[in-house]
Symmetry: C2
Amino acid sequence: MKRFENDLQRIEHALNAVGKNQKPPSLYDPISYLTGIGGKRIRPLLCLLGTRMFGGNVDTALPAAIAIELFHNFTLMHDDIMDKADVRRGQPTVHTRWSPSQAILSGDVTLVLAYEELLKIPVEVREKVIHQFNRTAIEVCEGQQYDLDFEKRNDVSEEEYLEMIKLKTSVLVAASVTIGAMIAGANDEQVEKVYEYGLNIGLSFQLRDDLLDTFGDESFGKRIGGDILADKKTYLLIRSMRMAGEAEKAILDKHIGVMPLDPEVKVNEVKSVMETLAVADETQKLAGDHYHVGMAALKELSGHGVDVDDLSYLANLMLERST
Amino acid sequence: MKRFENDLQRIEHALNAVGKNQKPPSLYDPISYLTGIGGKRIRPLLCLLGTRMFGGNVDTALPAAIAIELFHNFTLMHDDIMDKADVRRGQPTVHTRWSPSQAILSGDVTLVLAYEELLKIPVEVREKVIHQFNRTAIEVCEGQQYDLDFEKRNDVSEEEYLEMIKLKTSVLVAASVTIGAMIAGANDEQVEKVYEYGLNIGLSFQLRDDLLDTFGDESFGKRIGGDILADKKTYLLIRSMRMAGEAEKAILDKHIGVMPLDPEVKVNEVKSVMETLAVADETQKLAGDHYHVGMAALKELSGHGVDVDDLSYLANLMLERST
């Protein structure tokens, strides 16, 4: 991320100021804690790059970038309670380190602080931006709701899964860069293309994330097979259940929804079914398709003073592609 | 509330439209449920009356009134989880009827919907109103945090308690009428007086609520002594602990923080200490003082085309005073 070092420092500096020295500390400490344990800041960076790309001054976009990261952190505090996640970025989650009540309340105030940031953006584009922000926030909640609903269902289709991850994660990536573009005064057609770029890169990123959870490299520090152990209905699993012949179905039935005696056996046997059915390759291909759609939208924006290099570079960085 | 029937119908109609037919139903049903089980709509009504009082058109204030009621419902969904409250307005709370996850997420989307309403108010006053709304929302979260913090402390002072209820409940009453006044174009001095009215009526209302919980009439359907059984550090209890002589201290020590064998004995003995120490009278007096400060602020606004009758009437209705 050396290329974006200045922008990232700007983001870090502004984020650190949020809730600083506010009382009571019990309310604000979890906010600084979650900010302090890191994160790649992809979303606020996308917002600044969306502004710069159309010749805008990134300082005018900084409050929106901060609002987006605060919104993201708000969802993390609350989702981690719902998902019973104990660890985030290698550290205890807020509800684990403090309590669920604390995570609810500190999350709530984080969302309000995000809205206070949005009042700092230029008045000419403010209404448009807040509408986009609200629409996105509502979609993210809807996505989380579908995710919760899917836990109780065994008939989730591939389409439903893709719609869920679109709402839960991709629309926020798309909105980040779109809001940046809006602040720079991009026209409606440009805004639409930027959104398409963000949405598809976001989808590609999420599919890749699912793949890494099952087929990734343990050396990255992330435990492999978490989704399988949690019976998470990812694209990989949904597709496997659909494509399974009798032999594979027997293996899946033995493991899905069953607390394993030996977690490693469960992970390995489900993985081997996924390999047999080539769903990893299919998922990889789907992620690649979205990448290409996103990059094509970006390319259409290029020229007439619009420089797409940063967004192209960042997409490849996010997806660890060398193309 | 016959006097305000038209306004209340207007509020009910607009509230019922929120989240209507949105998907997934699992996300939006709890919102309609909480709206549907009633509530006195004091806050949105105060908002409309704040506008009418200064000659404004209440229709321009309706979205703000709805935003305020949505914000209030958002706090109820989340606070009821934190406070482990099973019943609200005589019905199961959202986290009891659905689940804590559901109450968190439906609460979150309710807050976003409130912000979407705020974009509908006239652009000339929008920034001012959203700032006021944000400041209030932050204070309400801070108040809830103090309330949670106080549960773990035995040395909470009367001043701290009053500051807590001010933040947790009174500032929202104050903001409701203030935002109404802002929308009608009231000047800064008028806005300040209206806020003073709302804040003091809100404090008076909360103190009275505490009194009714312990010394009220069972026939209203509310169980008497809930605060005592929950060891809630109300003004009544804090003051009793401070004023207690040895005999009273012995009774309080026997009961506070102790799960009672016979709840009725606990309630009656603690109540009798409160009566001996005359803290009920003191609390009543304090509530009365705030009422008078609030009404004095209102009186100063009267004249020059400003009609304070509705707000005067509503305050007396809220506090069931005939004066």
